[in-house]
Symmetry: C2
Subunit: 143 residues, 2 copies
DNA sequence: GTGGAAACGAGAATCGTTCCTGTTTACTCT
DNA sequence: AGAGTAAACAGGAACGATTCTCGTTTCCAC
């Protein structure tokens, strides 16, 4: 997890940005959570953080590919560490409470996906950056 | 396509809503487009539509499961007919221009997906409503 | 140390979307 | 047909998550 901060610092540095204390704190909050968090959740997890700075820092962390933003559609966006800092995974989005959880599909499905999607993209002349696979429904707590 | 309007009318009726002229016009615009449209695009396609009414009607059409909303994250949301009124498909989202295109994966991938996702959902106690699979990247026109 | 650029943070501004409200439309029941 | 009633309409005001502004503070290089 020391590793994580080293990587974050390096990626920010590559974009001529500093890995300041408040940016490190945002990254720490996201690393400690085991699911994507909203801005209010991030601020609640570390009350020392200022809202405006956190929005700005998240934007810069996203630009440096340290953080990823998930726009679920309802209310707040969710933020999590970039996939290559954790593990490739997808999301279970609850339409009742808005909560977002992570899940990892089987290796086999993931490999098939990659293969099939590459074909589709080629055919459309589309250059794939990433793929998103979300399950939308009702979580265990809301059923 | 007459069929489409009949289904729309029926679904609205089930929710005690009327299939009025302006709602029919919104549905017609979406049916004529071969990709998800934004509000400005819908209004441009039929200048007789009022913005506020269109937002409200889209919300009601969504509630009646006639229309589906895609929140891409940047600027406007995109709207399209519900999948069971067209065909099951997914999206190519361009990060440069914000355009959203449809694509249909192979039957086989789709079947595998269904199977694997059902397992994941069961394990998490999650009740799946639908799955979303998006390819995010750069479209042919922006490369 | 000192200069200058980057980052901070409180509040203002932005803008897609939703809400309010008076008017119009369209079914239903005589 | 005509009145009564509820839904739908449409213009504009309001909302709220996010972004911007700008004066202050921090940090790094020389």
């Amino acid at each position: 997890m020391d590793d994580l901060h080293a990587t974050a610092a390096q990626r920010l540095g590559a974009a001529d940005l500093r890995y300041t204390t408040s940016r490190r704190r945002v990254v720490t909050v996201l690393a400690d959570a085991e699911r994507p968090l909203t801005i209010p959740e991030i601020l609640a997890a570390d009350p020392g953080l200022a809202q405006s700075s956190t929005y700005r820092n998240l934007a810069e962390l996203i630009g440096a590919r340290v953080v990823h933003r998930i726009v679920s559609g309802e209310e707040f966006s969710h933020y999590e560490l970039a996939e290559d800092l954790t593990a490739h995974h997808h999301h279970l989005v609850c339409t009742r409470c808005g909560r977002v959880e992570d899940f990892t599909p089987s290796e086999r499905l993931e490999a098939d996906l990659h293969h099939s999607l590459a074909q589709v993209a080629d055919a459309a002349g589309f250059e794939v950056e990433l793929h998103r696979l979300d399950l939308v429904g009702t979580c265990a707590g809301c059923r």
